[in-house]
Homo-oligomer: 309 residues x 2
Amino acid sequence: MPHLRFLLHGDEQLIRPELERCGLREAVARVQHTDKRVLMDEKPGLALRRGKGSSMWNAVDAVQQGEADLVISAGNSGAFMVIARLLLGMRSGLDRPALVSPIPSRTGFTTFLDLGANIDCDANRLVEFAVMGDAFHRAAYTVENPRIGLLNVNTDPAKAGEVLKRANEQLGNVALGLNYRGLIAASAITSGEVDVVVTDGFTGNVALKAMEGTVRMIGGSLRDALSRSPAAVMGALLAQRPLNRVKQRFNRAPAALLVGLNRWAVKSHGAANVGDFTMALATATDMVTSNFGLELDRSLARLKPAALH
Amino acid sequence: MPHLRFLLHGDEQLIRPELERCGLREAVARVQHTDKRVLMDEKPGLALRRGKGSSMWNAVDAVQQGEADLVISAGNSGAFMVIARLLLGMRSGLDRPALVSPIPSRTGFTTFLDLGANIDCDANRLVEFAVMGDAFHRAAYTVENPRIGLLNVNTDPAKAGEVLKRANEQLGNVALGLNYRGLIAASAITSGEVDVVVTDGFTGNVALKAMEGTVRMIGGSLRDALSRSPAAVMGALLAQRPLNRVKQRFNRAPAALLVGLNRWAVKSHGAANVGDFTMALATATDMVTSNFGLELDRSLARLKPAALH
């Protein structure tokens, strides 16, 4: 991440000592002071009405004003989303943003959305997610025709619920130009059989957290197992480098990017550590310099003639 | 599993050679021949109308007739469920069975349901799942007051959807006698913070398959990493025993038990191998000899006065 500069919003008295500890100079990290903030449990609607002047609001506004290329927050997700939507605006043709994240798979990364921005979703919303996920995957991984799947408990459309049945039909519409592979089970999120997995925000959030919990649990079991006997400790030392690579690949809370807005807003975990935050930044800066905007416009241009809205 | 005897239903000409390969004598494994079977993609309704005399039907019927203590099938899940419900009947006070499975957690096992038997669930159904999960966990792990959580994207009831809000209120009713801990995120499935996680069959199925996929993916990455250099191979050899224990704990497709019926019916994966099937059998025979029936009746007796139905 060359030439990265930071604009930090919040209580200067709290931020300043941290910057000095990291040795970040004024030229690289500027602080815009405010002591107003959005609380973690504040209702999004309230944050929207009263949030003006808070660190979150100012950070999003700086992107809108052109002072920053992207905003990243580890704060209240719901508040961040509504403030970003209000200040940055939606891409023409889209209704609401989605949270998207790359998930490690057996063959690379799967683009997975929505991760919790939209709890209730109708078929049109799911089609919008597919269009956004398609553009995201093309821009992030320069894959020409990402394979797209719609999450269900099985692959048979006849057994699907009404919303999924309708979304499945719409996504199969050739006018959309998607490489749509139909309904898929959740094993496909990590198997590599598709590139993009589309679901509603409730299911996506549950699947993401279930997978993260599984990674943490296996990591903990491996740490225990590899410290239990002298032979195991020795073995772990010998295999340290490859084991660390596996750990780095999986043991990281991924950043979730808000897609569908006119500018970039990134949600990091509330419990993000330095490594998580660095990865969030890396993913986000990659996207800022990618051709995602062009890719999305190309896809959106096909969404309207397909007459789904 | 001492004194286990098998009654196998299906094409005798196909089963017989397999039994001989395993060295299982007639006294241990009896075959009840039929060449009629329920196909994997057959609609459950059709299987119910035309399934009589099929291997699946006969296997379930043998339990009803008292010839077997439990039935285990790796076949068509939907068909198995409706046939089991028809022939074995529901426990008085319950409406439909749920699929339940123990999931490895950081502290032991979490009882997780429903894993796909009921795609659409109202609040009453979720309360029934909690009652069944509670009894299951008490019987399987002799825990007196299992902590029960209701799966959501966050823990705040004010932000929950209508169905979850209502189920959350009902589960908090002290007359039910549950150790109910409220709404939980999916990280709780493996964290050990609760003993029983309740959700609808769609979400449960997605979470289960997402977790299974994650286990497979990490397993594959570890195998690759530990074979890439001589040092890593040596290290893996030294740590072989503890690594295998971790593998055995996680790398197994768990059996899903149908609870709420008058007798035991167990669903094994369509892709189950010998190890998976053995574990399914072990879990199921444990439950047959457990006091689950008594525990469930105790809980159901409280469900009615709580006036939720």
